[in-house]
Symmetry: C2
Subunit: 216 residues, 2 copies
């Protein structure tokens, strides 16, 4: 997931051979599959090993422990996970930037639902393994972008809103379709086979009306 063998600073164990790279990838993939479904405590090493096509001891040849796999997985994915927000451009058109951010997040839910559920499980279960990342990296990024949004609202480019809660609402609304996918699909059964086209239309309407500056 982030196994660049060259220019490795030594922070994570650098994989040397092709086969190691391949196996480490397979393990990360399997770990994502299992951890995203059951959370850390509910996940079982045998399941990860089996999904990765390895024996349990072989799995533990690559990583020292269950916790190490989990930590590596979260660390590798965190950056990708924050990219959509990082891309929010202070110089762009305010409403379009926010709508585009929402669309990127909705695409992430559609294309990477397991990643969404991995973080959902982790936070739901107390965020013990990513507390520092939330308090540091994520908080800093959110505060920075919230400041941008506040500026847009102040100069009247968008309707006045609480920037932090605006960001929360984008997370909540888009991630809901990944995290609660089972429920959404069961309820929409017989109406929409794929919830995402309607979700996009609905969320575009929602944020357009919310942010339209020409009112009150």
């Amino acid at each position: 997931m982030n196994d660049t063998p060259s220019e490795n600073t030594g922070k994570t164990t650098p994989p040397r051979t092709r086969i190691q790279q391949k196996n480490r990838r397979a393990i990360m993939e399997a770990a994502l599959e299992v951890f995203s479904q059951y959370g850390f405590r509910g996940a079982r090493l045998d399941q990860i090993a089996q999904t990765a096509g390895l024996s349990k001891p072989n799995l533990l040849y690559y990583f020292p422990s269950k916790e190490a796999i989990h930590t590596e997985l979260l660390t590798c994915l965190m950056d990708t996970w924050l990219d959509p927000l990082r891309a929010l451009d202070p110089a762009g058109d305010p409403r379009e930037e926010i709508l585009a951010y929402m669309r990127r997040k909705l695409e992430m839910s559609r294309d990477y639902p397991r990643e969404s559920r991995l973080f959902a499980n982790e936070i739901l279960q107390g965020a013990r393994h990513i507390r520092t990342a939330i308090k540091g990296e994520l908080k800093a990024l959110v505060d920075e972008k919230a400041e941008v949004i506040r500026g847009w609202a102040e100069r009247g480019a968008i309707a006045p809103v609480n920037p932090h809660h605006l960001i929360f609402s984008i997370w909540a609304l888009t991630q809901h379709y990944a995290d609660f996918e089972v429920q959404v699909r069961l309820i929409l059964e017989g109406r929409e086979d794929d919830p995402y086209p309607e979700a996009e239309r609905y969320l575009e309407t929602l944020f357009s009306r919310l942010l339209a500056p020409e009112r009150a």
Copy 2:
């Protein structure tokens, strides 16, 4: 949680004595605490027993298995969980009814965050134990209320929206504050000690602007 000793149909084991009632309540309370934090697979019986102030074997005197505790808990809470939506009154003022529903759901998140996380864990982990309830009870209720909302939109009492996704969005936005409470609080640290007052203001603005009929 639902232990009316009289007029019990025999569906769940009817508690006979005072002490049994008290202990069963304590177990349900402890089970809520633990299952909501770790999900079914991650939860441990000792933790539930300890939290309930009972020994592990004593816990299993009241319930035959871990699964039985979990099922009982979900069953008991499901009704309460759906009450806010049931209360949506087709005869009421459309915008006010939807806003009131949102407020009730937000209050549920604030006052019963563990219940929210219990269902979140369950659905996130595949909804294996409440599949039938979702496909049956919940789907029927949602479809019924969505029809009401569709009627309101058709006669122009609210702006046109997809009723199902409107309901999803109310769930997503309100439950987010319970399910992702840790993250919300960490990010708002130094700004808002209690996220709920601002959340209510923000969500009222959001749904007011979304549903305002006098536009387009």
